[in-house]
């Protein structure tokens, strides 16, 4: 009857957000009188999988087929369905991220299950199975009740930070008979932006807007990002003007980020920009115009010229780090 969780890994290293998903499931399972079974796909070491016990998984079902190291939405769904059947699961948990969004909807259809995409709360089982999620790009929240017998939850990453405890999961191999069709999408080439922090997963983000005047001024923004270990982002006009690569554009029509800290430099704070960043826990705005709308959405504000403030902030962070080593 267990709650099953899709575990993601990169090159065999389990994603931190998957620990979060396992921990989330471990909060739900006891309420339903059951336990958590994680499902790991592809080449992951025994030790890595056993560690899922530290976040509350009793058991890990491992489908060792190496082809699963790449995302194949059909194959992933087949594996998860096999696991769900074996465990007679009523709840499936995945992440609201690229892989989760390709796989969980397939599972929901196969299991005729209601799905909540981007869950921000544990299910409230008093009035049914009610989960909070953001709607209208963070301008409101909705409380969604899942009516079906089987439930699929896609957890919004970075909502319940994982906390390690004692524990060791039991790893079992699961054999799944895949069809050729399960692998019909072929990966031809992969282009990883290495050495940088991936934006969607970043806990700290430094973002620049048109207020930085031109690409030649991005060095001082990157200096701050490097000092903080942060990812860099930008507003849409900045990407449209090719000052920065397109994947850095956040907002309504770009990426969505939910870091612990979002530092917006020379960005006016248009509603379409806020839509991509308003899930950030803490927002710092640096803008020379005290009337800039972004200040209304910020926790901390600095009214000043970015070109002067940025180097000062970088120096302050550096000094702080030296004292806290």
């Amino acid at each position: 009857m267990s709650v099953i969780v899709l575990v993601e890994h990169t090159g065999g290293i389990i994603k931190k957000q998957s620990f979060e998903a396992v921990q989330y499931a471990a909060q739900i399972a006891p309420k339903m009188g059951t336990t958590v079974t994680a499902v790991a796909l592809g080449s992951v070491t025994e030790a890595e999988m056993e560690n899922l016990g530290q976040y509350g998984a009793q058991k890990v079902l491992h489908v060792a087929d190496g082809r699963l190291d790449e995302l194949h939405s059909r194959a992933y769904a087949s594996a998860l369905i096999a696991a769900a059947q074996k465990e007679n699961s009523k709840v499936v948990v995945a992440l609201h991220d690229i892989r989760g969004r390709a796989v969980a909807p397939r599972i929901a259809v196969k299991l005729k299950a209601g799905l909540v995409a981007g869950a921000l709360s544990y299910p409230d089982t008093e009035k049914g199975f009610v989960i909070k999620k953001a709607v209208f790009s963070g301008k409101a929240f909705a409380y969604v009740n899942i009516l079906s017998d089987v439930k699929v939850i896609m957890l919004m990453p970075n909502t319940f930070p994982p906390q390690k405890q004692e524990g060791k999961a039991v790893v079992e191999q699961l054999d799944v008979s895949f069809s050729e069709k399960d692998f019909s999408v072929k990966v031809k080439s992969v282009n990883k932006v290495t050495g940088e922090v991936p934006l969607a997963d970043a806990e700290l983000v430094v973002s620049g807007g048109r207020g930085l005047k031109g690409p030649e001024n991005w060095g001082i923004l990157e200096d701050l990002a490097k000092e903080l270990g942060a990812a860099t982002a930008c507003s849409r006009p900045v990407a449209d003007s090719h000052w920065r690569p397109h994947h850095e554009h956040v907002g309504q029509t770009g990426g969505t980020v939910r870091p612990n800290l979002y530092i917006a430099v020379g960005i006016s704070g248009a509603i379409q920009h806020l839509a991509g960043v308003n899930g950030s826990k803490t927002i710092v705005v640096i803008n020379k115009d005290p009337e800039a709308p972004f200040f209304k959405a910020a926790n901390y504000g600095v009214v000043g010229d970015a070109l002067e403030v940025l180097p000062r902030l970088t120096a302050a962070v550096k000094k702080f780090k030296e004292h806290h080593q």
Binding site: V135, G138, Y143
Partner: protein, 247 residues
């Protein structure tokens, strides 16, 4: 090659959300509706480009909604497309939307189904993959580039920290985002021509709802901003460390 583009109607991006009926619904008074940006700027425009370059022969647009969504699907048709279909149903969630679209699409047999990365109203981003599952098709999400050659697609898609290129035979469902197409502005000729293009209304078979929204909530107002002097970045760092606890 026949393309189906899924079009959803959403409140204009600058809409202020107001709740009503004891927070059980969203007030639509005075709200301007537009084509979901991902559907318009990326999915639809790429379909039009594929037709202009002679690769696609026919583009159909589909939307699930009651009569009030017609102005938006007409606007989409003005951008391009040979025919529009409205599935006459109020949909609760992507599960229902995907079932309705799949029911229609299965009968036609499209080579390529394009949808947006997500609708900016309910931010699910799950309709496309559900549709693929219902139609037993392959699915590539978060596409940033699509090219078609003979019976196969080469699709660039976002991965964590980068991009990859996938190859897949048609038929295929793709969810589109930035990068898939070049921005363009509709011309008046297209708008006039669209009036004569057909808009079919289809009554779907029923489906049992699997979710319901019980209520809505607006985010709490920010507790008030703390201003820090531009000359004292040490203070900002201290606040981020001791108060916000983010560094």
């Amino acid at each position: 090659m026949k393309i189906l583009v899924c079009i959803s109607q959403v409140p204009d991006t600058s809409t202020k959300i107001v709740l009503k009926n004891n927070n059980t619904s969203v007030n639509s008074d005075g709200v301007t509706y537009v084509i979901n940006p991902y559907d318009e700027w990326y999915a639809l425009i790429r379909a039009i480009e594929l037709k202009e370059s002679g690769i696609a022969t026919e583009i159909h647009l589909i939307t699930v909604g009651k009569a009030d969504v017609e102005p938006v699907i007409r606007k989409a048709l003005a951008l391009g497309g040979d025919e529009a279909i409205r599935i006459d149903a109020e949909s609760n969630d992507p599960y229902e939307t995907a079932h309705y679209i799949a029911e229609y699409a299965a009968g036609v047999g499209y080579d390529l189904i394009l949808c947006g990365k997500e609708s900016i109203d309910y931010n699910n981003g799950t309709t496309g993959a559900m549709l693929a599952e219902l139609l037993d098709l392959d699915y590539i999400g978060f596409a940033t580039g699509i090219s078609i050659e003979a019976n196969a697609a080469a699709v660039n898609r976002e991965i964590e920290g980068g991009e990859e290129t996938d190859a897949c035979n048609l038929p295929l469902v793709i969810s589109c985002q930035k990068g898939v197409a070049e921005a363009r502005i509709p011309n008046m000729r297209g708008i006039m021509a669209a009036r004569t293009r057909p808009l079919k209304v289809i009554t779907p078979s029923g489906i049992t709802a699997v979710t319901e929204i019980l209520s809505y909530e607006l985010p709490p107002a920010k507790a008030g901003i703390k201003l820090v002097s531009p000359d004292d970045m040490d203070e900002l760092v201290q606040l981020l460390h001791t108060e916000a606890k983010v560094i």
